[in-house]
Point group: C2
Chain length 191, copies 2
DNA sequence: GTCTATATGCGGATAGAC
DNA sequence: GTCTATCCGCATATAGAC
């Protein structure tokens, strides 16, 4: 991939994640990269094309990151996945926000792309991890629930200060992951 | 509240929920209601004011709905809340989408409003329900986790077909709520 | 590949008549 | 309260020079 295209995708990803697709103009992206707005139309057909390319770019990279992580932690796969997912969602702001935006606004096509690129592997990992004694169908339900737990847990973090009255916005990824894993295991044993 | 103001708020809520704030123009809303675009500026100072008023309108109404529901189900409060929340998120598209948008894009002020109007009560209900034997701090953590479980579970529903390979997009609210409650109880007993 | 220049339309917002 | 008319800036997108 050309360097300019890469720069445009990275910049677009950061801006889209922060403000949303509609709120970011082709001019905004061009200005940050330091080229003219017209130049973007040499690299991308139109704005929809840029958005689609940006999502593919980000999700494929993160999918690879997860793949590497899983391979490096052959022991407890469920543990490895949950820690990777929580940590990534809490520290990789671009990925996290684009993922949430897609879950809300993505059409069938884009949701399918998201499933393929980042979620297929963790889904398989969890399904295998919880399989013992369960039907294949049940294992799938549990797996998808777990993905939901992580996604939901990180999404509501900003509510914490307002509800608990204390400012624990600083809760770290390891603590959240450990809490979730404890819950999953306790639910798992009695299933 | 005047009838016109009410109509504008309801229409704005539906359009904002569906497409997002930036993607909806004052003209779009005016057209649906059947007035001119300039008329909106008699009722609202500017677009930001309309958005803020729309969110307050929707969240206050839903907060009242929850309040009524909780009062009518004095038995198992946790059960009542989870069923209300899951059902509402799965059937009230306007509320659900505005809530998710706020969790992503809301600033401190709007998140605080959301906490006050809809989340304060359920948070209290859960905290009380899980309190026995726990420190107040732990109970709060558990309560906020539960809110996250519900939020996450509903958010990932569109992923279900792509991941499980089967089209269970038709999973109903009761089934989801029952599954979540089972998990919460099994985690609760061993805490 | 990247630029300048421009067509064309939509957006928020206001003034002032009724 | 609601309308018509209008200002003005910004957005996407294209044409064509370099």
């Amino acid at each position: 991939m050309s360097d300019m295209r890469f720069q445009l995708l990275e910049t677009a990803a950061a801006l889209y994640a922060e403000r949303g697709y509609e709120a970011v103009s082709m001019r905004d992206i061009a200005k940050v990269v330091g080229v003219t707005q017209a130049n973007l139309y040499y690299h991308f057909k139109d704005k929809a094309d840029l958005i689609q390319a940006t999502l593919a770019h980000v999700f494929e990279l993160r999918g690879l990151s997860l793949q590497g992580w899983i391979a490096e932690h052959p022991g407890d796969q469920l543990d490895a996945f949950v820690r990777w997912f929580v940590t990534t969602l809490m520290t990789d702001r671009v990925f996290a926000r684009l993922l949430y935006r897609e879950l809300i606004d993505g059409d069938g096509e884009r949701i399918a792309m998201l499933s393929r690129t980042v979620l297929q592997l963790p889904f398989q990992v969890i399904t295998d991890a919880v399989a013992n004694g369960r039907s294949a169908q049940d294992a799938k339900m549990v797996a998808i629930s777990y993905v939901g737990f992580v996604v939901g847990q990180v999404l509501i973090l900003p509510l914490s200060p307002g509800l608990t009255g204390q400012d624990d916005g600083s809760e770290n990824a390891d603590a959240v992951a450990t809490r979730l894993l404890g819950l999953m295991r306790s639910a798992n044993v009695e299933a």
